[in-house]
Amino acid sequence: MTIKAWESLRNRCATCARTTLVGGTVVVALLVGGLLMAAGAAGLAGTNTEKFCIGCHEMRENVYAEFKGTIHDTNRSGVRAICSDCHVPREPVPMLIRKMQATFELWGHFVTGVIDTKEKFEAHRYELAKRVWTRMKETDSLECRNCHHADAMSSELQSERARSRHAKGKAEGMTCIDCHFGIAHKEPEGGPGPQELKVGNR
């Protein structure tokens, strides 16, 4: 607080003890700070909802349309994933970084229209897929593991084929996305797939 502000506060409440003024200021500051944080958190949470993501037609008409009907959308048990479950990290710092990167998506939507037609989207499909695959390889398919815990996979309930594939994959240091791609959205035509992308030590 500046000296001037303090003096004006003093003038307005000449009879208050200094302690009261300081205490009051601190309480107000905490309240305002708290409200701002709550509003920020609510805003961020809002940007993680399915409704928000498909607010943009680029998403709604392309990747969301493809996602509908896939196993992550509808299945026997009704347990489903939404956009942010797979594309936004849950950890606070990586999440905030991703949200800051997402401002470029606003630029693309409102200013450049980089994927605002079906044709433009298809032209960029591989690039978009590659970004996601790269990120997943870098993080050992972190978002998959939000729900799919390898240790909790019952070997009795998995098929013989799944068991042997997963054992082999584990032995070879593979990550989920190396095989499980093109599940929620259409595969791009052409270009190296996750297994062929050299990312870090994978």
Binding site: S164, K168, C179, F181, P188
Partner: protein, 111 residues
Amino acid sequence: MSLKRTAVVGSVLLLWAGGAAAQAVDASAAEALAKKSGCLGCHSVTQKKIGPAFKEVAARYKGKADAEQKLHTHLTTNPKVKVGGAEEEHDSLKTKNQADIRNVVRWILSR
């Protein structure tokens, strides 16, 4: 052009078009059947997965006269295949309809 010549050229074109139409691939039907049969769990169309990509299969069979026959057999008789050093049975297409099987075979060979 004389009438006779027109007739010959016309017939050839018609036959060719008819043949082409008969060979035409219904890509969305092929994809749907492949998906239903679980093919895409191991095979991507262009990327490397567990089995070869369909693009790679097409390249392997390119120019071979018995390509369709060989692939048809492969997709209907559960032959043994090598996956990661171990042998296992290859799955079949989940249909008995020969036209649908042919469609998938041609779709793969044209990737």
